[in-house]
């Protein structure tokens, strides 16, 4: 895990001052803050309602400049609350956060000038056309579409044929692209994308991530959230999050490497019976459906072949035919499941 608290403290004051001065006359000039982290959350907390529901529970993480950082977790994990606090739209109830060295509470005006935010819910003006929305957002940020056209060109050419169409009349995919253009048009230093791919089909999701890669190449820091675990591997680093708490922060590779057990993909002729039999198999720490296979984890004892044979023998005794057992590398989803289940692996034995 990476919490660069000390480094950030050294940097935060000078950056803050420079930033504040700069933003008086030229809030676009953000290159001065390339030394410190782009985002720092320190025990960030948000509580909702009479019942004091902890939506965000002491969340700490750091995003480096130019990084593509993913918040991976299901709905209700607290992702949107974190985004709204970082974009100064929601006040934290505890802890602190900085974006580009600026405090999300004290310096909210400066932050609003420099960050880009694409909310999960479509929030552009439905009655304005594509072109009008884009011009509007450029004007609000005191710039022009021409000035930063290079940033959005890739994406904008795809919706340009419809530029006279009202935003409210666009399809989901086109709305998403317009929203991304509007969030980029003032050349933000940090781009916050809240679930940009939710409800989007796998092909369009792939395209969207290609666009993000190209933006990253332009040196924009991107913080993106998603409930799709398979997208995690496309990020530089990820935070797995559930119930307002971070389960793990690291590179996707490292999270996979840290998976503590051996993992096998198992299938046989009767997948339903297989499910029940594996649930009753003491060697299996957990077993759950994963596509056409069941994933079975077992204690790592340095001899996966032996474990594999034990599973084979057990299933043969239970009368299974066409048994396939493969030792596999865990996916981020496997890691997430393990974090959720913790030691209570029984939960996963469904």
């Amino acid at each position: 895990m990476i919490f660069r608290e000390e480094g950030s403290k050294e940097n935060e004051e000078p950056c803050h001052e420079k930033k504040a001065q700069a933003s008086k006359y030229d809030f676009m000039n953000v290159s001065i803050n390339k030394t410190g982290p782009a985002v720092i959350c320190d025990s960030l907390t948000k509580v909702y309602g009479k019942e004091k529901t902890l939506a965000v529970d002491k969340v700490s993480f750091t995003v480096n400049p130019g990084e593509l950082f993913g918040l991976i977790g299901p709905d209700g994990a607290g992702k949107t609350s974190i985004f709204r606090m970082l974009t100064t739209l929601l006040l934290p109830d505890g802890g602190s956060a900085k974006v580009d060295g600026l405090d999300v509470v004290k310096d909210y005006k400066a932050i609003r000038n420099t960050v880009g935010y694409m909310p999960g819910k479509f929030s552009l003006y439905q009655d304005l056309s594509i072109e009008e929305n884009l011009n509007f957002f450029a004007t609000v940020f005191n710039t022009t579409v021409e000035e930063n056209y290079h940033l959005i060109k890739d994406i904008y050419v795809q919706i340009e044929p419809f530029k006279k169409r009202r935003a409210g009349k666009l399809s989901g995919g086109m709305k998403q692209k317009l929203a991304l253009c509007c969030a980029l048009i003032h050349k933000p230093t940090v781009l916050f994308l809240d679930e940009p791919t939710t409800g989007v089909d796998p092909v369009s999701r792939k395209e969207f991530w290609e666009m993000l890669k190209r933006l990253k190449a332009q040196n924009i820091t991107i913080v993106v959230s998603t409930p799709y675990m398979d997208e995690a591997t496309l990020c530089d680093r990820i935070a797995l999050i559930q119930n307002g708490k971070i389960l793990s922060i690291d590179t996707p590779d490292q999270i996979v490497k840290d998976y503590p057990s051996d993992l096998f993909a198992v299938k046989s002729e009767h997948i339903y019976q297989l499910k029940n039999d594996l649930a009753a198999f003491p060697v299996a720490l957990s077993s759950y459906s994963f596509g056409e296979y069941l994933h079975v984890s077992a204690a790592r004892e340095g001899q996966p072949e032996k474990t594999s044979r034990m599973i084979q023998v057990y299933l043969s005794e239970k009368g299974h035919k066409d048994i396939v057992i493969k030792e596999i590398e865990p996916t981020i989803e496997d890691c997430f499941i393990r974090f959720l289940a913790g030691d209570e692996t029984e939960i996963v034995k469904s």
Binding site: D75, G172, G199, P202, S289, G291, E292, L340
Partner: protein, 247 residues
Amino acid sequence: MKETVIKTDKLTKRFGDFIATNEISFEVYKGEIFGFLGANGAGKTTAMRMLCGLSTPSSGKAEIAGFDVYKQTEQIKKNIGYMSQKFSLYEDLTVLENIRFFGGIYGLTDLQLKTKSEELITQLGLASEAKKLVASLPLGWKQKLSFSVAILHEPKIVFLDEPTGGVDPITRRQFWDMIYEASNRGITIFVTTHYMDEAEYCNRVSIMVDGKIEALDTPHRLKEQFKSDSMDDVFYQLARKATRSDN
């Protein structure tokens, strides 16, 4: 002989010059889990709306639970259940009120409602939440509750429109266990999803591209046909050919 519960023949929906759903023909059998896949804008929603009796087809035929989609839409509605992530339950009603409300709409008697509600709340382990507003439940519980409510009246077919979007991986799997149980009881499941691992859990899968059904078979045979080892790849091979898209 397998009992057919959904049968369409060149079912088509036009909006002006645009053919949203283009001559789709397929059958779904009793108790089957049928995955209805396609890219955004491929015509899935339009097709589903016709199958649910909510939209009149432009041409072609379809029978749902033995009822005609042109003339017998009211009977269709009584014999199906429906849930989606967007609309499922009333957030401002409690768990119990939602069950009573939907049960009432589907014509359950007071006595049936009473037994059914108790049964359901015990099954889902929601006893202490029964009198809480649905808004206060975590998404995963909402989705499980909403599925149970959609099959409260023991419909012949239940239509699930992206039921697991945004749900955590464990709850997603528990949700599929509920689907299997319902299917074992003989309820036909018609489901759309963007999770390709879930396509593997279906008995058969259809993939729509530009308004047409381009592939329909068991996940196993589809993978053979497209020479690939995952449904994700099968989907990608087909959907990337789309000329029309939502994007």
